[in-house]
């Protein structure tokens, strides 16, 4: 779910080798064009009109001939609330993640009254930060629900943090910090491959 490539570019500039995948062809085309502006981002491997299941399949097909051990980091940020089959995505991710050291980051919004008020009523309808209908509150997930889905997909939780604003964004300045005790609205979890489960050979 790389979308327009904002995160992909940041990770590339910070030194990562990035493969970026999104079902949208148009968004990824925009991302590719934008990536040409900085020499550090031109080498991002963008795959538009592509799903993580397809990427998993591709690596599976090359498994015997490549030395691919898995990705060190996989990011699904603000993705799971837009996906219909979360289990399928997580299973594919597990097969792509390096065992032991690989880490999966998932961020989404919790399904609470507070998140409804802030993220939907507030952000979409009152402040107009996002177009109305961007988010379907029913798709929001709590850390516990995601942990359950992870477990079913062979992944286990490392930690969970809320993402909270340090002060109200009065002058257009959004300053976030991590807070393990407040997961009511935005939160981010870290996961890894479950130790007992080795990726299955097909």
């Amino acid at each position: 779910g790389c979308g327009g490539g904002l995160l992909s570019e940041s990770l590339a500039r910070l030194g990562a080798t990035v493969t970026a995948v999104d079902p949208s062809i148009q968004l990824v085309q925009q991302a590719k064009t934008h990536a040409q502006l900085d020499p550090k981002t031109t080498s991002i491997d963008y795959r538009g009109g592509y799903t993580v299941e397809q990427l998993a399949q591709e690596h599976q097909n090359h498994q015997l001939s490549s030395s691919f051990e898995g990705y060190d980091v996989i990011c699904l940020l603000e993705v799971v609330e837009h996906v219909t089959d979360v289990h399928s995505v997580l299973s594919s991710v597990r097969s792509l993640l390096k065992p032991n050291t690989g880490r999966l980051f998932v961020s989404t919004m919790n399904r609470t009254v507070k998140s409804n008020l802030l993220a939907i009523v507030g952000a979409e309808y009152i402040m107009g930060y996002l177009p109305p209908g961007t988010h379907d509150w029913n798709q929001f997930r709590s850390p516990a629900e995601i942990q359950q889905l992870m477990d079913e997909a062979g992944l286990e939780q490392v930690n969970v943090n809320g993402m909270v604003l340090t002060k109200p964004p009065l002058c257009g300045q959004w300053d976030w910090k991590l807070d393990p005790s407040d997961v009511d609205v935005n939160w981010i979890g870290t996961y890894k491959v479950k130790l007992e489960d080795r990726p299955q050979q097909s």
Partner: protein, 418 residues
């Protein structure tokens, strides 16, 4: 690249008044290189030509802890500062440094396009962020199509170095003269030399710029060392008007003036300030350098950021030198701009991502500082009697209300609005 000025005994009058905060922004390395070329001062005494009130700022106003604030400000030669900064540039990991290169156009860029500058020989330089740090007549600001509001002052400034009969003892002085403009005496690294910055009308300036040294020295000493005079009588101001009700009103006016005088003198003498209330500045013995004049203005660019172009310091705003704020405001801009660049860089984001934050922070802060300094300039230029009473009263109040004086000192030192 410029080299360090020779270690002459006569300091160059082209100097800046740097606050401790500014020296902190410049960094340890620059500060220690400059240290013996700085004219430190621990106090700044501000007073008027024709009233007894005095306002004295000290380093204690910046920080009550004597360990922490060891000075109020430092006067630094432009040559020494520029040479030191060039040394820093050469020591740092700067990819490319083009000198003797003229630009003929710029493009501001945006989120989908980099900023660019075209040189006179036709080559194009592209950048994530383009910073205009080219002074009050900024070419970058004009080329980017950023307008500014404000105007030139009728006053100009004259600056030159003088020799003193006695050491200036780490004290700065500023007196608002009868014609309104301030006359400032700033310490230098040489204890028996000071820099004079005199803001007044262009006519007065050219008269004294051409005068012989002896006459000028005599005039400066009388301006600085003559005792404060009584506020001119209200009645004298209005001699031309006919007071048909005569006697009674003139008595009342006279009585009111006496009361006001008593109040002013009483407040001045009862000052709670720990230091002595009034110090006579040292006697000037001679003119020690050529004299330089420069025009004064108060301008604020309508925005500091356009696309990927950012303006800092005088390119963004100019101010009357009376508060010694020019470079301090500029360095505060630099700190804020670097913070916004670091914020983007540490997250791997496009460097221009937080330029809008730099703009809203600094534009707002500087607008208030400019407003305050400009208001002060307008206030002191006016010699109206009633206003003089108000100014006298006001100075006395600020002097005596410790917290207020300290707040002003801290705000001035940090280049921020109160």
């Amino acid at each position: 690249p410029p080299s360090q000025p020779p270690a002459e005994r006569v300091p160059n009058p082209r100097s800046y008044a740097l606050s401790p905060q500014s020296l902190k922004i410049l960094g340890e390395s620059v500060h220690s290189t400059l240290d013996d070329r700085l004219g430190y001062y621990d106090s700044m005494q501000v007073w008027q030509a024709n009233s007894p009130s005095t306002l004295t700022f000290t380093s204690r106003d910046l920080d009550a802890d004597p360990e922490k604030s060891t000075y109020l400000g430092a006067c630094c030669e432009d040559q020494a500062l520029v040479a030191t900064l060039w040394e820093e540039i050469q020591a740092a990991e700067v990819t490319e440094c083009l000198t003797d290169t003229r630009l003929k156009s710029v493009k501001c860029g945006d989120s989908t396009m980099l900023a660019s500058a075209q040189t006179e020989d036709g080559s194009i330089i592209r950048a994530s962020v383009l910073v205009g740090a080219d002074g009050g007549n900024s070419w970058v600001r004009k080329a980017a199509g950023i307008s500014r509001i404000g105007g030139e002052y009728e006053q100009h400034a004259l600056t030159f170095t003088v020799s003193l009969t006695d050491p200036i003892m780490r004290r700065a002085f500023q007196r608002y003269l009868v014609d309104g403009g301030p006359l400032a005496l700033l310490p230098t690294y040489s204890p028996k030399h000071a820099v004079v910055v005199w803001s007044t009308s262009p006519e007065t300036l050219s008269e004294w710029k051409g005068a012989c040294d002896e006459d000028l020295v005599h005039h400066l000493n009388s301006c600085l060392r003559e005792g404060p005079q009584r506020v001119p009588s209200f009645m004298e101001d209005n001699m031309n008007q006919s007071w048909s009700a005569g006697g009674i009103f003139s008595n009342i006016a006279y009585g009111a003036e006496r009361v006001l005088d008593a109040v002013h003198y009483g407040l001045a003498m009862a000052s709670q300030h720990p230091n002595p209330t009034f110090l006579v500045p040292p006697t000037i013995s001679g003119i020690a350098s050529p004299k330089f004049t420069f025009p004064l203005s108060c301008f604020q660019a309508t925005t500091y950021v356009k696309g990927r172009i950012a303006l800092v310091a005088d390119a963004a705003h100019t101010v009357h030198p009376m508060a010694g704020q020019g470079l301090n405001l500029g360095l505060a801009d630099v700190r804020a701009l670097v913070d916004s660049l670091e914020k983007a860089h540490s997250s791997g984001m496009d460097l221009s991502s937080f330029l809008h934050e730099y703009n809203s922070n600094r534009h707002r802060s500087v607008s208030v500082s400019l407003g305050g300094i400009h208001a002060l300039q307008r206030l002191f230029r006016n010699q109206d009697t009633l206003l003089t009473h108000a100014k006298t009263f006001g100075l006395n109040v600020v002097q005596n209300v410790g917290p207020l004086r300290r707040q002003l000192a801290v705000a001035a030192a940090h280049g921020i609005a109160i």
